[in-house]
Point group: C2
Chain length 431, copies 2
């Protein structure tokens, strides 16, 4: 569909020497350019863009807020009281954890949330200059640390789960240089889910070594092996928040509520961490961790986030908490697509890279990882691009494995036959 | 209205020892707390919250964009093409400067714009570690530099205008440590407006010393002494962009379009600066200044800004450029309020701090500065708070002068008699 020459020329036009240099947005730009050039529609599996229509509840809340005049008035730095209240209730209903409304912050997507947490750690405790990433992970969070001036440590969770995971972490924490532990759960890209025992161990380590855990819950309630959809009823979304006071949960509107376009997320900050004082913050005229994050970091980064989308997220959370809106039912669609694509790939000689979760089968969800024998992940990414399929190589996600990430959000039922046909053609050419 | 004891108790509850420690949001919080406690409405002159209703054009554009499904889809890191095109035309129509649409970036308010420019300079040229602020200025921009890890230099423009201003700047630029010059024009808080001759000199210095100028046009077209409202007709909004290639203009939706609540602004980046390559940026896999700002800084800070408000600002700019929407007519209201308040204050023994603009009377606009004889600015801020009037002390804005900033945006016609009555009571008690 696309020749090697066309691919290289398109890379050069973006100022890239190879696919290895591309970040996720670069891959998207590249695939769109090739799509235009070849005149053939690509199957976009590279990026975690939610492919579902958001709830009307959100639309109605935005329109009502705009009619009420919110567009003219600065939102508070850390967000509106309505969203604080709704997110606090949401955390209680679906994680079974208590976070005071005053310790919720609205952010311009979880991207701003994680940036602001890293920036806060950078200033709160300058002696600890390292972020520990549990890999594979969202590589942009490493760029965040680099831009802020923090160092990064990381290890691949694939070959160490359970007690091994905790031992590996403790080896790194013993250096005394780590200020923050970052992971997503479910994991992007491998879709493994940390167990309650692992989270309990991580929490205990965070307390013992006085390190904050930033738990990225971008894929909230998307471990579809369990029904996490019922408010105030077990099972709940697992979280380290049950096991330490040193936590921040990043809860995004992007994936769980299909609201990525309005860039709205929340941080739920441990009540104890929020009020904890750090002497170095005195240089900024504040004392507590939370006041610094809200009054100095979020203030100077953007002076709060857009007003109307805060009402949208609050309205959806309120409806979810009150049992009027089953947000999990909507996103279960991603699991169905994952199952279909895995079946096609396995039938054509591909294998799953991260292929089990503590011995159990992986959940079908927003992402999974796959590879074709005898190729590097960069080679596979480039080759699949030639067959009109855009994916993202694991190399750039801190993985020790060779493979690519598949996101299930953007493929439509109508594209299912095309996917099978292209994978089949790829397999025939690479036997 | 409020006793000294009540004031001190309210300060203590916010963790502040005195008004001197308060930032602009702290002052607002304090005045709202005292308002609630005293049961008397305050006159809020402390914060630059636009007090006007935004145009229906914005509302309609947001609703249409939401109906079109923009809420689900990530916006590009640097914003949507429609806004790039609209802002490029807006810059041509009202400043008479050419900036390519590809060199416009959408930001979460100009606050994110200035933060991202400082962060970009921090990494583009680490040897130059200092930002030069022309004071008095928006003190939060100094906090931005501090959070990013840049040093600050500043001087007060009050006693040096014209050639003196340029001499003073050149003394500082000769050190070779300055990467960025920051000012707002019209100036917040003094409302002085740099002349074309001054801007020409600043541009020449920026070119000679290879320094970037960040021109904060938060109060776009608000020098009401001139009619800047006609697209593609002189007079234009003055800008340093006419005199150097080393510039970034921050054009905000907050004040000129009364759209602060939706946190939407734009950066218009010099075509030459955007593509200029800086070797240290190679550590992030990019080369050019603009690609770093867009693809690394804006990406990691928030992954773009909310989708629907981008359509709102674009629609207002399109209408302004096409002569369908006179945005200047709307905001001229601020000038009328300034004139009323200045008259009241001068009749009651107050004087204007920054009282002339290169010998000519200051424009009436969004801000002005005033003082009462025999007081420090902290004393005056605290005392006026007791009479139910919230203002902001100049001390925290890098001014060498004693005085307070008055913002004209939030007082209503209905409050005019109350303002006069309270100022009169204050004057009677402080004779």
């Amino acid at each position: 569909m696309v020749s090697k020459e066309q691919l290289n020329a398109a890379l050069a036009r973006q100022g890239l020497q190879s696919v290895a240099q591309a970040n996720i947005r670069d891959i998207q730009t590249l695939s769109k350019a090739l799509e235009q050039e070849s005149g053939e529609p690509f199957i976009h599996l590279e990026m975690g863009v939610p492919g579902l229509k958001p709830s009307d509840i959100a639309f109605e809340a935005e329109v009502e807020a705009l009619k009420g005049g919110c567009a003219a008035v600065y939102p508070p730095n850390a967000g509106i009281a309505r969203l604080h209240e709704a997110a606090s209730r949401f955390v209680k209903a679906f994680i079974d954890v208590d976070v005071a409304p005053a310790h919720i912050c609205a952010t311009t997507g979880s991207m701003q949330g994680t940036f602001s947490v890293m920036m806060t750690m950078h200033h709160a405790n300058p002696a600890k200059d390292t972020v520990l990433f549990i890999d594979p992970g969202f590589n942009v969070q490493k760029t965040q640390a680099q831009i802020i001036g923090l160092k990064g440590e990381h290890f691949d969770v694939h070959h160490c789960r359970g007690q091994q995971l905790l031992d590996r972490m403790e080896d790194i924490l013993r250096t005394g240089k780590v200020c923050l532990i970052v992971y997503s759960n479910p994991n992007n890209p491998s879709w493994i889910c940390l167990s309650d025992e692992e989270l309990q161990g991580i929490g205990a380590l965070a307390t013992r070594y006085d390190v904050v855990v930033l738990e990225d819950l971008a894929y909230f309630a998307m471990d579809f092996r369990k029904d996490l959809s019922r408010p105030y009823e077990a099972p709940f979304q697992p979280s380290v928040a049950k096991y330490t006071d040193n936590y921040v949960m990043a809860i995004s509107g992007s994936k769980a509520f299909s609201y990525a376009g309005q860039r709205i997320g929340t941080l739920a900050i441990s009540d104890r961490l929020y009020v904890r004082e750090y002497a170095p913050l005195g240089a900024f005229g504040v004392k507590s961790w939370g006041d610094f994050l809200s009054g100095r970091v979020l203030y100077t980064m953007s002076s709060g986030t857009a007003h109307a989308p805060q009402h949208a997220l609050a309205a959806m959370m309120e409806a979810a908490v009150e049992g009027r809106f089953d947000f999990v039912a909507e996103i279960r669609e991603y699991g169905r697509r994952a199952k279909f694509m895995k079946d096609v790939l396995l039938r054509h000689g591909f294998y799953l890279v991260y292929d089990n979760d503590l011995g159990a089968p992986l959940a079908d969800g927003f992402y999974f990882t796959t590879q074709y024998p005898g190729m590097t992940d960069i080679e596979l990414t480039a080759e699949l691009m030639r067959y009109g399929i855009a994916v993202f190589p694991l190399e750039s996600m801190g993985s020790d494995e060779q493979g690519v990430r598949i996101c299930t959000s953007f493929i439509t039922d109508a594209q299912f036959p095309l996917f099978e046909q292209r994978i089949s053609a790829f397999a025939a050419d690479h036997r």
